[in-house]
């Protein structure tokens, strides 16, 4: 089946099997490998992407269901240099192995859009769908909180 998806502003069109998962389309067809796969049950959030502005787990959706949609992956977050959230993750050591990081950053991005000054608890709640096996979450929470402050200061 023909699928046309806009990912990070660029159009990708391909003939895919109806059963192909969106995450595989992103990784294999668009060759954007920043979106990861950590499970087969929709639990880990490593495959989180933005789907028409909302976060979704791209392993729970078929590529054909995304026909016509606008997707943003980690690669589309910032075109020049690092986004303030990425910067904060670097400065506050919000990642170790980096495997969950794309999903974490995109979840944080959506959170900060709707709630620019979240409490630590709100941040943790926003990360409900994203597991991290390395950090114990605290440095992730600190990174996001720091990003919020920085973004406010910068008036972004």
């Amino acid at each position: 089946m023909q699928v046309k998806v806009k990912i990070n502003g660029k159009e990708y069109q391909d003939d895919v099997e109806p059963r192909m998962l969106l995450v595989h389309f992103i990784r294999e067809k668009a060759r954007l490998t920043g979106t990861h796969i950590g499970c087969d049950t929709g639990n880990c959030g490593a495959c989180t992407v933005l789907f028409n502005g909302r976060t979704i787990k791209s392993c729970l959706m078929l590529a054909v269901q995304a026909n016509g949609a606008e997707i943003m992956t980690i690669e589309g977050l910032s075109t020049n240099g690092l986004h303030p959230i990425q910067d904060a993750f670097l400065e506050k050591f919000g990642f170790q192995c980096g495997y969950c990081t794309s999903g974490m950053i995109l979840s944080a991005y959506v959170l900060l859009q709707s709630n620019p000054q979240p409490t630590d608890h709100e941040i943790r709640e926003a990360l409900e769908g994203n597991l991290c096996m390395c950090t114990g979450y605290q440095q992730i929470v600190e990174s996001i909180s720091y990003a919020a402050t920085k973004m406010k200061e910068a008036g972004k």
Binding site: T33, D40, G98, C134, V141
Partner: protein, 786 residues
């Protein structure tokens, strides 16, 4: 925001500081390259057919329909491997260990659910999965061995008929006069503690890709592994490919926690398939597969007896341990529980020890190294029994610990198991932890809470662990050393090539800090390379909290050698005595006249243009060192956990968590905290939520992330972390290692807190995980609760 204390002052321009590498944001922008991200044209995709039975004979294996499916390239079964590669031997063994044949693919018998039987190669992963469905296997199921206590009873069915029982091997440790200790005791406190089986669960499951370049006779293997060099040596032996024609690359690795410290069947098969097929092959493990067929951790039952006097002095410790090792010992399976034995006395001066370990075969996946590897079990058993003793003697848990701690003046201390603890300051560390937690206030709060009928508990865990694996004399995997090459390039930039293979621990940063300080170059001028056997010196790998202590020391040693050489070159350029040269702020200058100086860059240029070198000196600025430690290191710490148990639901809420760790000198406080916190999370995960459950048929009940309760952000507390700093004498950096500390300290702290909370009901022990239902039920069963 979390309170992070930092009481220790940095000791270098970069070393000791809270900094991150700025020039390396790959992983943050999705530009990392994990195995699955590496695309080679014309790749064949592999999927494994795995046993659905825990113990069965394979009576029929028919691949014909699968073979006929369009897009299937080849199907390989155990029969095809006969005479090619048959058996993967383990490394860590006990003298009497029964070592069964460990075939790459099962032929006529399977012994655990998930055991690989056949490998399908197909044009894409979807087709490979389809083909699996078309393979027809007939099994003749055999009685299954699941519980280790039953497994060692006479008459139990056998996992391996060739061994006379399910006892795989034994290990005994006797020291001091144990009988006398027990005779002299006022009390003997006993406990049976189950340290349940858990999954290491790296976010990236296993992944292997292999490519054979026939023209160059070069086999390249990408694997999500902790040990590229050890894997290379094993593959070389098993596949009969010379080591210098074999290149193993551990690219970005998405966590490991011991799970990737192994040589797996799949890792052996993939390169073989690449050679046979003449095409690149790739296998990306699914999470369900990973939970069945990557090693598990822990799984011990400890029967513990502690002999104490009425004033709380510990006289002797007896422990009988059963360790469930699954069906086939993997690389270090048998070595792990011996670490429990040798560390069983913990931070205490206990004159007599008797430890009896029995490794038991069951129809399950093997256990092996999972973060902490044997030490969490040791700490758990000693810290639980010490708390039980305190409760029985009506003594404060801090007091009983303090009475039995080794004193700082007693180091180096030879333990009952013959280890030499390098250095320690246990009491100071505990006192600081108690202070930071506000221990006395907490006890008062607890008293008030109890009066109000609330179940508040305070748990302590004081641990010592064994790290920086390890001295060569102790036979560690790979020889125990680590290597590093440090090179100043002609431009003055610095490259560090490490034999260790970090994957998230932050050594790109810490190694750069060490090199930058020793060579007086800007931190951002240092690049750290690791994980590729073709570009880095021979190495061992990442495990046993050894990266900074052993690998970092190798970096330090190489940097020192370069420094000496730079001094000689500078002296020649400046025409002064090398003894009068100092390296400061990026220049080599005369001590007597700082104006007489040359920059590191100029020296580098001189080293490579080779025109003005001291007579007889070789050109270049590149040095390699191998550091082989003489002793382990023994980090320690105190964790304090405060909980409140909800009476109506049994839910455990963590109110406060304080970790006071001592990992010796610290190169980077931020990465240390990262290690500690991540470790605590895993330790709490085991204490509260996680459990690998096999049912009576040996079927894995917790076989996906849906059923296996890995904790989320809302389920974990804030950690308040601080440190004391007692340097080790085992390496020149004074660094002890911290990768596993959190996991070791956290589990007993949490369980001790919950048991303390439930003390009003006369509850003395509760086995993990402390899920609400279990806690609630335990309360309900107590008459005091009615």
């Amino acid at each position: 925001m979390a309170q992070i204390k930092q009481t220790i002052k940095p000791n270098g321009k970069y070393m000791g500081r809270r900094i991150m590498r700025k020039e390396d944001p790959r992983l943050l922008s999705g530009k990392g390259a994990y195995v699955d991200d590496i695309h080679l044209p014309n790749t064949a995709h592999v999927a494994f057919l795995r046993s659905e039975h825990a113990n069965a004979r394979i009576t029929k294996l028919d691949i014909s329909r699968a073979r006929a499916l369009a897009g299937v390239i080849q199907i390989v079964t155990g029969a095809d491997l006969r005479g090619v590669v048959e058996n993967i031997p383990p490394m860590g063994v006990l003298p009497d260990l029964f070592v069964p044949q460990h075939p790459v693919l099962a032929t006529d018998r399977v012994r655990y659910v998930g055991e690989p039987i056949a490998a399908v190669l197909a044009e894409n992963p979807y087709i490979a999965q389809d083909a699996l469905e078309l393979i027809h296997v007939e099994y003749d199921p055999l009685p299954v061995v699941v519980e280790m206590e039953k497994a060692i009873e006479p008459g139990s069915p056998l996992v391996h008929e060739q061994s006379k029982s399910n006892v795989a091997g034994t290990f005994k440790l006797d020291s001091g006069d144990i009988e006398r200790a027990f005779r002299k005791a006022d009390r003997i406190v006993t406990g049976r503690f189950v340290n349940q089986r858990v999954a290491p669960m790296p976010m990236e499951a296993r992944a292997v890709q292999a490519d054979y370049q026939a023209g160059e006779k070069m086999l390249t293997v990408w694997s999500a592994t902790q040990i590229p060099h050890l894997l290379r040596s094993s593959l070389s032996r098993l596949l009969k490919v010379p080591e210098n024609r074999l290149r193993v690359i551990a690219p970005d690795v998405g966590g490991a926690f011991g799970g990737k410290l192994n040589v797996y069947r799949e890792e052996v098969l993939l390169p073989l398939l690449a050679m046979r097929l003449g095409r690149p092959v790739k296998w990306i493990e699914t999470r369900r597969e990973n939970m069945r067929a990557m090693i598990h951790g822990r799984d011990q039952i400890n029967y513990v007896e502690l002999a104490v006097t009425k004033d709380g002095r510990m006289l002797g410790l007896k422990c009988r341990t059963l360790a469930d090792i699954g069906a086939y010992p993997q690389m270090l399976t048998a070595a792990i529980p011996t670490l429990t034995a040798i560390m069983a006395t913990g931070c205490y001066k206990i004159p007599a020890l008797s430890f009896e370990l029995t490794d038991v075969f069951t129809n399950k996946m093997a256990t092996d190294a999972y973060r902490g590897a044997g030490r969490p079990e040791a700490t758990y058993l000693i810290e639980r029994i010490v708390d039980m003793a305190a409760a029985e003697l009506k003594m404060d848990p801090a007091e009983i610990r303090s009475r039995n701690f080794l004193k700082s003046s007693e180091f180096p201390f030879t333990t009952p198991s013959g280890l030499i603890y390098d250095s320690g300051n246990y009491k100071t560390c505990m006192d600081k932890a108690l202070d930071l937690a506000g221990y006395n206030k907490l006890r008062q709060q607890q008293e008030r809470a109890r009066k109000q009928g609330r179940l508040m508990g305070i748990g302590l865990s004081t641990y010592v662990e064994i790290c920086a694996m390890g001295p060569a004399t102790s036979d560690p995997p790979g020889g125990g050393w680590e290597s590093a090459t440090v090179r100043i390039e002609p431009s003055g930039k610095v490259t560090v090539l490490s034999g260790a293979s970090p994957h998230g621990q932050g050594e790109e940063t810490t190694y750069a800090q060490i090199a930058a300080d020793q060579l007086s170059v800007p931190f951002d001028d240092v690049t750290v390379i690791h994980g590729d056997t073709a570009s880095v010196p021979p190495g061992v790998g990442t495990f046993g909290s050894r990266n900074t202590a052993v690998g970092g020391t190798a970096v330090y040693m190489s940097a020192q050698k370069i420094r000496t050489k730079m001094e000689a070159i500078a002296a020649n350029l400046l025409e002064i005595n090398p003894k009068n040269i100092v390296l400061r702020d990026g220049t080599l200058q005369s001590k007597l006249n700082p104006k007489k100086s040359v920059s590191v860059r100029e020296v580098a240029r001189a080293a490579y243009t080779a025109k003005k070198l001291p007579p007889g000196m070789e050109p270049g600025l590149s040095e390699t060192s191998f550091f082989s430690p003489k002793n382990y290191t023994f980090p320690f710490g105190t964790h304090v956990c405060v909980v409140e148990v909800e009476r109506e639901t049994g839910e455990v809420k963590i109110i406060k968590y304080v970790a006071m760790d001592d990992c010796g000198k610290v190169i980077n406080p931020m990465t240390v905290e990262g290690q500690v916190q991540g470790g605590i999370a895993q330790g709490l995960g085991q204490a509260l939520y996680e459990e690998i459950i096999y049912d009576d048929n040996g079927q894995l009940v917790t076989g996906s992330l849906m059923d296996y309760a890995f904790p989320k952000a809302t389920q974990l507390p804030e950690y308040i972390c601080d440190r004391t700093e007692t340097p080790t004498t085992s390496n020149p950096l004074g660094v002890k290692g911290v990768g596993e500390a959190g996991t070791i300290g956290a589990t007993p702290a949490l369980v001790n807190a919950v048991v303390d909370a439930l003390a009003p009901y006369g509850i003395q022990h509760l086995d993990m995980p402390l899920k609400p239902e279990k806690v609630w039920r335990t309360i309900e069963e107590k008459p005091e609760a009615r």
